[in-house]
């Protein structure tokens, strides 16, 4: 893997007209191979500040691998990742979190033996020196978990666990939030709550989001733009209307013959 100095600005955070660019994330020729399998195949991907992008594609398309490359959980075989104008390709994952990249995994990643408040303490102590109580209360109120403050996380409903995990990710005050199937297994009401929350996070906090999701109705309810991955490459990119109308997407992803 090419080692790059994360302190060197390899891509100026300005656009062609000289204005400050609002681009949060850019990947160039990003590639990940597992043995003979290419899970991410030279992906060029860009995301703007406050944008809510959904990532869809059939199973094995490389969606989760792509997210794990962005967080640093996986090392790319080749290519580069630029975040906020800096090359972060070789940066360890905890430093990416410090710089504002937060991740919510497919499997709920919360500390089941700890209470809701104790769970929030873990990310909060990474970003604030004191005022834990104030920040904890703010997050609990925002994610509708105030009544469950002292509840052990394993006793929460699935929907509450998902909200707690998003709350933990937001406690880190990210600029880029990555979510892997945040509504899998949730009821219609819980799904609608999460959709409202994510839209609010993008609109009010200016956080850019990448959301992997299979539920096309959910995608329609939240996404600014949609990227379709297939066999590790970007197959299509566009508005949800364009994507839904594309016969090739229907064929590979929605399973409809035309």
């Amino acid at each position: 893997m090419a080692v790059s100095d994360p302190t060197i600005k390899t891509k100026p955070a300005v656009d062609e007209t000289g204005r400050k660019s609002s681009r949060v994330l850019q990947t160039r020729d990003l590639r990940k191979e597992f043995g003979g399998l290419t899970a991410t195949d030279d992906v060029d991907f860009a995301l703007e500040e406050g944008e809510l992008r959904c990532l869809i594609g059939p199973n094995g398309a490389g969606k989760s691998t792509f997210l794990n490359l962005l967080t640093g959980q996986l090392e790319p075989t080749a290519g580069s990742i630029y975040y906020d104008g800096h090359d972060i390709t070789a940066m360890p994952s905890h430093e990416r979190v410090e710089r504002g990249i937060s991740m919510k995994f497919q499997v709920p990643s919360i500390y089941e033996g700890l209470t809701v408040a104790q769970n929030l303490r873990v990310p909060l102590q990474q970003v604030v020196d004191d005022d834990f109580a104030v920040r904890t209360r703010e997050i609990l109120e925002r994610f509708d978990l105030l009544a469950e403050r002292e509840t052990t996380a394993s006793d929460l409903s699935h929907g509450q666990q998902q909200r707690l995990e998003i709350g933990m990710a937001m406690a880190l005050e990210p600029k880029l939030l990555l979510l892997d199937e945040p509504v899998a297994g949730l009821s219609v009401e819980e799904t609608a709550e999460i959709a409202d929350l994510l839209c609010e996070i993008a609109a009010d906090d200016g956080v850019a989001l990448i959301v992997i999701e299979h539920d096309i109705d959910f995608v329609e309810s939240i996404a600014d733009r949609v990227t379709v991955l297939d066999q590790g490459t970007i197959f299509r990119e566009g508005s949800i209307e364009e994507i839904k109308a594309d016969p090739e997407v229907k064929r590979i992803y929605l399973g409809e013959d035309h």
Binding site: E98, V122, Q126
Partner: protein, 293 residues
């Protein structure tokens, strides 16, 4: 006379309790927090003892010589962690084989370099007036209790403790929360090594210092970790209390050898009845009480 018998038992208990706690605590921290079974634990204790005794022989006052023992063992632990142990996280069997190898190499190395014995130190503080035993054993017990309290505070109440427990419970989530898990492992291993070094330093005045010095602590350490279960501090306290009581009671009646035998039999029975250790039983009871409420 019955009063004196009780005093003897009490002193015996304090002596054994302190020994089991101090023998166990470094191993328990490394195993409980990192899932590494350090079969070279005894040789970490050995490093602490040799560093202490040679520092003392070189003219340092005993407390400073002991501090040197702790620091040198911690540095030794960090170097070993960076060079070897860090490649073995999540590989339980591999870590056992490698640390066993390290143990064998170290024993032979110490024998080659320092010979079959090292200079003694002599037990400080003199004898107790009523019970037949040195004051120093009471000092060791106070240090053992203080150490347990300090470790409990460190892991339960400090930011470092929150990060360490978060890393122990789920490394991937901890990393996604911005915790430098590599550094947490290195720090935890350094703490475990320093604790082993402290044990070696503290027992340098009371045990003959030979290349096999560390093996004298191994039985108690491993038995207590298994009997204690997953919870590092509470497990160590309860296992040391239980094993110390059995050992002291039988030693008082039938001598040291039978006390040791009784302790091992008690440990075998405890492991048979409580495969998850004493703290596993406590967790089960808590869960059942939670369900019935």
């Amino acid at each position: 006379m019955a009063g004196l018998g009780l005093l003897d038992f009490g002193f015996e208990f304090v002596e054994i309790f302190a020994f089991v706690v101090l023998a166990t605590v470094g191993l328990a921290v490394i195993f409980g927090m990192m899932g590494i079974i350090n079969l070279a634990h005894g040789e970490f204790i050995l490093v602490g003892a040799y560093a202490t005794t040679f520092s003392f022989a070189a003219g340092l006052p005993l407390p400073l010589a002991m501090l040197a023992g702790v620091v040198i063992t911690a540095v030794f632990g960090v170097v070993l962690e960076r060079l070897i142990i860090r490649h073995l996280y999540g590989r339980l069997l591999d870590s056992m084989v490698v640390t066993w190898g390290i143990s064998l190499v170290m024993i032979q190395l110490v024998r080659i370099v320092f010979g079959n014995s090292a200079p003694g130190i002599g037990i400080p503080f003199g004898q107790l007036p009523i019970v037949d035993g040195p004051v120093y054993y009471l000092v060791l017990a106070v240090i053992a209790v203080g150490l347990l309290g300090g470790l409990y505070a460190l892991f339960m109440w400090t930011d470092f403790g929150v990060r360490a427990r978060a890393t122990m419970q789920d490394e991937e989530t901890a990393r996604s929360m911005g915790i430098d898990t590599d550094r947490m492992y290195a720090s935890t291993f350094a703490i475990g090594s320093a604790l082993a070094g402290l044990t070696g330093a503290l027992y340098a005045p009371v045990m003959p210092i030979t290349p096999e010095y560390g093996t004298g602590f191994l039985v108690e350490a491993f038995v207590a970790v298994v009997v204690g279960g997953a919870s590092v501090i509470v497990g160590t306290v309860l296992a040391s209390g239980f094993l110390g009581t059995v050992n002291a009671a039988v030693t008082n009646v039938a001598g040291t050898f039978m006390g040791q035998v009784a302790m091992l039999i008690a440990a075998i029975v405890a492991i048979r009845l409580l495969p998850e250790g004493i703290t596993g039983l406590l967790a089960d009871l808590r869960e059942k009480r939670g369900e019935s409420e």
